[in-house]
Amino acid sequence: MHKLTIIVENQPHEVEVTPNRARPGEYTLFVDGHPLTVFVPDFDNPELVDWMIVEDRPYEFILSPDLRVAQIYSGRYDVQVRDKEIGGARPFVGDGRVKAPIPGLITRVYVEPGQAVEVGQPLLVLEAMKMENEIRAPGRGIVHHVAVQPGQTVTLGEMMVEIQ
């Protein structure tokens, strides 16, 4: 299950998505608590998908490559995707090392060694797939080490910040 926040025309919506493993192309969602089933007919070619059936309603759409603009018959919408798995605060269970959840580019670093941080406080911004992902503190503590700087690219799992 993936938790996302999707903002459409400045209106945030909380989303939970679960792919149906038994039936590829089918997804179960909760949008602001409202259950929906989405079916993707062209499941095998993710890049070419240009229509989906939401419940029993077919939609043809055009999505910009960075997922910032969506066009359907009723108009053009500004959208934003925030992935909580990537940027969100998670319970402090690890050893305090914040690793890159996706490969990407560090665009901003908000903290420096010695600084105290709270749970969920933004540490840095990791840009990937043309989206800015705010990486937040997994727990309360003191920043012990910052291993990255703006402009640097990171690979998957690379240690970025250590919190004690």
């Binding site: 993936h2 996302l4 999707i6 459409v8 025309e9 209106q11 919506h13 989303v15 998505v17 792919p19 590829p24 997804y27 969602l29 949008v31 602001d32 409202h34 929906l36 989405v38 993707v40 499941f43 993710p46 890049e47 998908v49 240009d50 989906m52 939401v54 419940e55 309603r57 939609y59 043809e60 759409f61 055009i62 999505l63 997922l67 969506a70 359907i72 018959y73 009723s74 108009g75 053009r76 919408y77 959208v79 995707v81 992935d83 797939m129």
Partner: protein
Amino acid sequence: MFKKILIANRGEIATRIIRTCREMGIWSVALYTPTDRDSLHVRLADEAHMIHTPNRYGDADEVLAIAKAVGAEAIHPGYGFLAEEADFAERCAAEGIVFIGPPPAVIRTLRNKMLTMEMVKRAGYRVPVYAELPDAYADEATLQQTAAQVGYPLVVKSARGGRGRGARVVMHPDKLADAVRSARREAQLIYGDDHLYLERAIAPSHYLTVQILADVHGNIVHLGEREGSLLRHNQKLIEESPSPALTDAQREELWTAAIDIARLFNFQNTGAVEFLMDTAGHFHFTEIKARIQIEHGVSEMVSGVDIVREQIRIAAGEPLLRTQEQIRLQGWAMHCRINAEDPWNDYLPSPGRLTRFRLPQGPDVRVDTYGYAGCAIPERFDPLLANLIVKGDDRAMCLSRMRRALMEFRIVGVQTNAPLHKQLIQHPIFVAGTYDTNFMARFRFDVSANTNAETCRDLVAIVAVAYLMRRRLDRPVIPPRFQSGWHRSARRLPARWT
């Protein structure tokens, strides 16, 4: 009849002409520039030749040289480029090649917009008040004096181009000098001639066009009128036939006037006799377009006449296929000009590659386009991508058909003005059929999206699933090397390879 015709044009009009050629069993020769390689007209033609010269489709020498080399008996110029070029038509004749269009002398007269109006005025028809600008670079005082004779508001027009590109509306004397300067620049650029004239603007008005066909045997018919009052930057966005603004008596009067005026000039081949109708219902003749027009499909839909076929037949000296009595104007047709331009971004051209291009289908829907899925839309030429034409029994049916055709038309890869058309044809004033040339000035494209709760929820679901799919977060992670089968075959490699 001709065996081989060269089409000295590009895009959707070249495609349109090739189609009729093929139906008539005529070998079609297409031209294309390097940037137009992807255009459908190149694929459909029996033969295609590349032109490399900087003037492209408008290069008379190059076009004639190719026509002679391939043995074309006739040249169809389409619209723009070499259409309405009397010199070119004359050169064709000298080379023994038939120019599909009016005789050179007729073209020459009609391109002189002031002479044309003078002749029509003398024959007893209303024309707008106009005055030539005496000298191409007259001083401010002379300009103002000429303008005062005409009266405000007025339109600055090219003596060769008429009310098409290059025309400027001037509401106030302060703006006159600037308008003249920019109109002159544009006229020189487009028509290679900076002669201008001033014409009293008739606003609000209706732009009415009568489609004419005339053969060399003196037969002349009309295919009804078109209403083209929905303009943006002097280009018609939507045309319809018949006009919703006319009574049947007015229609008859307009058709008769158009045929009589065309006869004044011994007009031949196809043309469009254009009028403005003022608020009192008077017609003012403005010009004759001596060529096929982009929006000819509307007249074809209501009359059942293939205008390109008639053009070719007339050029070959054959009589018209039908008399006026045999032409029955039926139903209501409408034409939307689909441009590759972005209504959300000041209508900037939107070139690119069409990744999806699904045409609307079903009864009485026609699309003339050079595009297809996978083709590149070059930024070099006009943004016109497709002519969408539909027909219904009456206007209401025609409108609902256009609405559904626009819904069905799927274009991905470039942004088009189709969303603008969707809004226009649902506007109450347009639906009522009471629009005039002022309508577009007041119309604003609604950029806001429909934020109905269910639509937004569905959109959120779509974006969420698309996000997951693009990141491959929705499927189990299989390292690429396990997907290819290579890891298994690798073990079977001969020993000497390791």
